[in-house]
């Protein structure tokens, strides 16, 4: 292990394990399952920061420039920890590590003549050489991106190469996989790999990103290149607030009162979404008619939804979207019958 400083967010991977030979059905074998996490406080490094902002200057000779995770100049960087945890019951196996192109360590990587390595980006199968870390990375393994509250992306994100190895046995499991030659990259069952915020390239560039609340989204095994038991749990997100050179976390809620008429005291509301950026909320109004508020891309419209004339709602509604742009609402009428209304096309 030649990495330094680790803490982390957590993401998980879940992979079916393959075994050489034997001719068994792969799905009968134990499955690896990796998940990701970001900015989690590691129990063994409780005093280290997990997420922070700083500024750094990069020159043409900076390995991070060759690596593609910075351009020449001074940049504002959002550093954060990232972890990939195997929560499955089989090892997550990347493969045998090729012979190194240079020797040294992080920030000090040299060729056989003692010159700066200058081989960043060299590919060998799905491995790509890192001058900054002086070892082979698994290409495009993780992706990081920052999103605004309206779900638009702030920047293009970073597809980060990753040296996948056992780093911390969160379940008490031992460590076996390493990035160095002669070993295999991978993550054992019950183990996680952690890239700490202090590592080179473990950042997003946030030049000119206005102060505000954002969501940092991290995904591991982005291209599903490595088979997993399931891929659906490979993404995690983390809400943060940027203010100048400080970043704070734990601001999960943004109040956005909805302008509507009054509800009966203590009314029960029902909510559903028939598509991205659409909310519908129903309740029984004071006249015992169903009231609907449709929120489309942030704007509200309110309407009253009568049942069959002469019938009023007796209980709070239930609401469901069964297909895109379809919404169904049910309620018990004052006549003790089940009443139903359907809205199609989002209208």
């Amino acid at each position: 292990m030649n990495r330094i400083l680790r803490i982390g967010w957590l993401v998980g991977i879940s992979v079916w394990g393959f075994a050489a030979g034997g001719g068994r059905d792969a799905r009968a074998l134990p499955g690896a399952d990796v998940v990701t996490a970001v900015a989690l406080q590691r129990p063994y490094a409780p005093t280290l920061p997990t997420i922070y902002v700083d500024s750094r200057m990069f020159t043409a000779s900076s390995p991070e420039v060759a690596e593609g995770c910075a351009t020449v100049g001074t940049h504002k960087l959002l550093h954060f920890d990232f972890a990939t945890r195997n929560v499955g019951d089989g090892d997550f196996i990347i493969g045998a590590v090729p012979a190194p192109l240079c020797t040294g360590g992080i920030g000090a990587c040299f060729d056989s003549l003692g010159n700066a390595c200058n081989k960043a980006g060299t590919q060998n199968g799905f491995f790509v050489w890192s001058d900054a870390h002086c070892h082979w990375h698994t290409q495009d393994f993780n992706n990081f991106a920052l999103y605004r509250s309206d779900n638009t992306r702030v920047n293009t994100g970073v597809k980060q190469a990753f040296c996948v190895e056992d780093w911390w046995g969160w379940s008490g499991a031992g460590l076996r996989y390493e990035c160095s030659q002669g070993n295999q990259e991978g993550i054992s069952v019950g183990v996680e790999d952690i890239y700490e915020a202090g590592l080179s390239c473990q950042w997003l560039i946030v030049d000119n990103v206005p102060d505000g609340t954002y969501r940092l989204v991290a995904t591991t095994n982005v291209q599903h290149r490595f088979f997993e038991e399931r891929y659906a749990n490979n993404t995690t997100s983390y809400t943060l607030t940027l203010s100048g050179s400080t970043v704070t976390t734990g601001s999960p809620g943004v109040f956005s009162p909805v302008s509507t008429s009054s509800l009966p005291a203590g009314a029960t509301v029902a909510a559903a979404s028939w598509g991205p950026n659409h909310d519908d909320i129903f309740w029984v109004g004071s006249n015992n008619q169903l009231v609907r508020v449709a929120r489309d891309n942030g704007s509200n419209s309110q309407s009253s939804v009568p049942l069959i004339p002469g019938t009023t709602a007796a209980t709070a509604p239930a609401l469901i979207s069964i297909a895109p742009s379809e919404l169904e609402v049910l309620t018990r009428g004052a006549d003790s019958k089940l009443w139903f209304n359907r809205f199609s096309g989002g209208g």
Partner: protein, 232 residues
Amino acid sequence: MALPATNATSAFWVASDGTLWEVDGLNGSWVPGTTQQISAAGLAFKGVPSVVGFRSNQWDIFVRSTGNAVYHDDISNVPVNWQAIPSATGATSDPIAVSPDISTIYVFYLTSAGVRYVVGTRNTVNGLVRTYTAPALVPTTGGPASITSIAAIANGHVQLPSAIGNQLLYVFARAADNGIWMAALNGSSWTWSQIAPAGTAGGPLAGVTWADQHFDVFYANSSNKLGRITLF
């Protein structure tokens, strides 16, 4: 008649005599003659059932008995098969079931000790849920002192298939002081956050996922207006 709870094509409700009923829908209309009792003899339920869809003609329903135990049945092309979830007793609220991925169902319910939950695991072949974890308590540390009602959501829904299953799971709690709290599951640990101050809520909470990893919580507020908290 209690409130119906719906899934894609059916509605369920508990009748005043404790029996549980179902009516089927198809392509947006309700199918005559499909109203049927699906509870078994000797079982009496109350409150609002909670339903999780799995695939066409197969879903899972959770409901509280009059004895405050949590029961489960998988509604599919097999006879009803009601099971008391082991040790899931003492419920002071109706159960709320959410499915953060295709293989697991979390079932939450309030007890005098706080929010408890069980995790059901789906058989990968037939989709049936037959095994549950023992009831666990969402740790109360850092959370509200007293909870009057809960809601729960997972990321993704039928409209957001790409988002389904990345295991973002949130429980929202209306505290006794009408503050609103959120417990977030990350890995195997829970973290409480207060997302609205005391005196905010005037009614029960409803959560909805409206985009990948974007959530809203709606409620009647203390001024009898519709309140909304956006989480992302």
